[in-house]
Amino acid sequence: MRSRAILFALLTLTVVAGAQGGGQLRFCLHSEPKTFDPVLVDDDASERVRYMTGGFLMRLNRLTQQLEPELATSWKLSNDGRTISFQLREGLHFSDGTTFSADDVAYTLQRLMDPNLHSTTGDAFRSGDGKLQTQVSGPNKVTVTFPAPVASLDTKFDQVAILSAKSPKKEMAVLGPFYIADYKAGAYVQLNRNPNYWKHDEQGRPLPYLDSIRLDIQQNRDAEMLRFLRGEIDLIDTVDAEYFNRAQSEQIGSAHDAGVSLDPEQLWFNQTAKSPIPAYKRAWFRSTNFRVAIWEAVNRDDMARLVYRGRAQAAVGLLSPADKFWFNTSLRTRPYDPQNALKLLAQDGFHQQNGKLIDRDGHSVEFSLVTGAGNKTRERMATMMQEDLSKIGIKLNVVTLDFPSLIERITRTFDYEACLLGLTNMTLGPDAQMNVWLSSAENHQWNPSQKQPETAWEAEIDRLMRAQASSLDPKKRKEDFDRVQQIAWEQAPFIYLVNRHALSAVSPKLHNVQPAVLQPYVYWNIDRLARNAESASK
């Protein structure tokens, strides 16, 4: 009887331990993290480490796309958009045991906005000249006032990991689920469970479930996939369509397609006045009919099917439908319609002669498309465009350049005609789009750094972008940004080709996996990821 009781107790313990999880999660970083200082993060690997170690005042739930309270239980924005007051959780401790208080929030924000540090995270908050003011009105209450209104102020705190003002080891004292336990340059970063992490699950068990995470630094994607298939690593947060299919066929249940992501592939024509391209070509590129005709002459469904193995969809416009709140639902995907493309071109005086498209001055339509060398996906897309455009008599020369040469051409010399590149959107809505859509912006790629908007529609976009940025009414902001999307769709300064799907590969042994379309796709709920009972007991 006694031995049965002991056996029962052991079994119960095993089941609890299994449900609790434990164990180590392993996956790869694709480059060396440049820093572990959360304020100075500006590269992907460092951002991933910050995501898993940092404690944040509020966090964007990657699944619901809603902001959720974390270290701050509540917050209040002022009507002028400059001030935000936080009510903080009580009784929290950093991983090194120091107490969390409002002073830490004030310290973090002062450091973030220190002009000498040139923090990329801090740049998002810089909207005017002047100093940031912080007012600590109690151990758990802090008010922050920015020198000028900041659009979507609260959502920007999703990137701000709170530092300890008192701890002597600033970067190692964290409020997130894991802390950095070990790092060997070029080899790995080891994160261990933060014993002072404040969250508990619905049953009251402390989070995170995992004991540790080992991030192997592995640049080679082939090697990463091989290690995944051999079970040496547990997940690959972002995979391309080829690897996705391979994971799907070799490890049932390991490939996850969360649907269309925020990331577009796009091309644009060089409309810059000071570029050394012939004037007649600039005139083509500045014609809305020409740009829309190119958009409609490219079979983007074929592109999604062949290049992305069906794991992408023809893009609608500047935002992906994955952005649930901000996407303009009245817009429709432009169809593949070469006949309509020819009609649009005819309106501008283009005509076909011996299978070639000729402009009104007798120039045969031929242009080059530059893209980065070594990117097979984009090279394939360009090759498909080459064939599609040849059907309406346009000759496309595909030129692959090494990346520094490409950047030199599209940002400094402007010696190019069209460019094909992709974007990785980390944030929702228009905030990250300001530096692209304002005509004065350096990243207004088709015609950057304009002193005055050169077209009426660009002036209208400038007005709308500024209006939405200074408005605190989400409905009004949405209306303004919907109109921006509409203009971008009509004028086609960017030709949006496809939106990739959010693809990942995850070991079936991992529990609580809920892939999202916002990065990180898989480990956005890292504190709740768990190994199953079998792997935990191992």
């Binding site: 690897y243 099917r305 290049v307 060398a373 097979k376 080459q386 020369n397 595909v398 030129v399």
Partner: protein, 268 residues
């Protein structure tokens, strides 16, 4: 080893002829995309299947072979000719001419050729025909490939300049130009031929390397380099042995060139 030489000649002749008659032998245009049949396995219509855009792989291999096997020897000829002229003049004249030309050769040899090629490719105009682009690539390869050969030729010419027969020719009143062209140049021919045969596979591989980096021949024109890019990635090498044909062709052709080269160097 004569039989090995005959086999090599046979292989190279077959490959050359097949590529020369690519227009007749290819079942489809090399750029034609059969979009309903991407990544297809070999069929009666597509002997080596199709690539991921549905292009007939056999046709692309034939045209790619034509590009790589015709332009690589042309570039090798250019490199050998430059090496012969510059190395021969340097070795024959000696003195400051030899020192300056060999210093120039050392400078070219010390340049990281891959980065130099990248830089030169980046400076080329964007709107060039794919065929022009590949010709320029091989032209650059040829222009950069003379230095090592020139050093060898220079040493050979230097030895011949002071040889007994050259001394006797001078004593008989032979002019310097006649001596150089009629007596020394024929004796340098084996060296130049060896340089040519060495350069052919080197240039084929150089173009393949550029192709793997995405900087070789522009789409849609195929070359061995661009065809080898299909082998990038794990998925390419699983269950599709026919995608290895361009690699096999490259290995066989380069080996055949090497066999001929060894045969050239062996004393008869």
């Amino acid at each position: 080893m004569r039989w090995l030489r005959y086999i090599s000649i046979g292989i190279l002749a077959t490959v050359f002829l097949a590529s020369l008659f690519a227009g007749t032998l290819a079942p489809a245009p090399y750029a034609k995309q059969f979009r309903e049949e991407p990544d297809a396995a070999p069929t009666r219509q597509h002997w080596l299947g199709t690539d991921d855009l549905g292009r007939d792989r056999f046709s692309r291999v034939l045209y790619g072979t034509r590009i790589s096997l015709l332009l690589a020897p042309a570039a090798a000829f250019l490199a050998a000719a430059l090496a012969g002229i510059l190395g021969g003049v340097a070795g024959y004249l000696g003195g400051w001419t030899e020192r300056s030309l060999m210093a120039a050769a050392d400078l070219v040899l010390s340049l990281p050729w891959l980065f130099l090629l990248l830089a030169v490719r980046a400076l080329l105009p964007l709107n060039v025909e794919p065929l022009q682009s590949v010709t320029i690539t091989f032209l650059i390869l040829g222009c950069l490939g003379w230095a090592a050969g020139a050093r060898v030729v220079c040493a050979g010419a230097g030895a011949l300049r002071n040889s007994d027969f050259a001394l006797q020719a001078r004593a008989l009143g032979c002019s310097e130009a006649r001596l150089l062209l009629r007596h020394l140049a024929p004796n340098l021919r084996p060296l130049l031929l060896a340089q040519f045969w060495i350069s052919v596979p080197v240039f084929i591989l150089a173009e393949a390397n550029l192709g793997i980096l995405g900087l070789g021949v522009s789409e849609p024109l195929p070359s061995w380099g661009s065809l080898l890019r299909e082998l990038e990635g794990l998925t390419a090498i699983s269950g599709k042995p026919w995608v290895f044909v361009p690699l096999l062709l490259l290995i066989v052709s380069v080996t055949a060139f090497q066999v001929l080269l060894v045969d050239q160097e062996m004393p008869s």
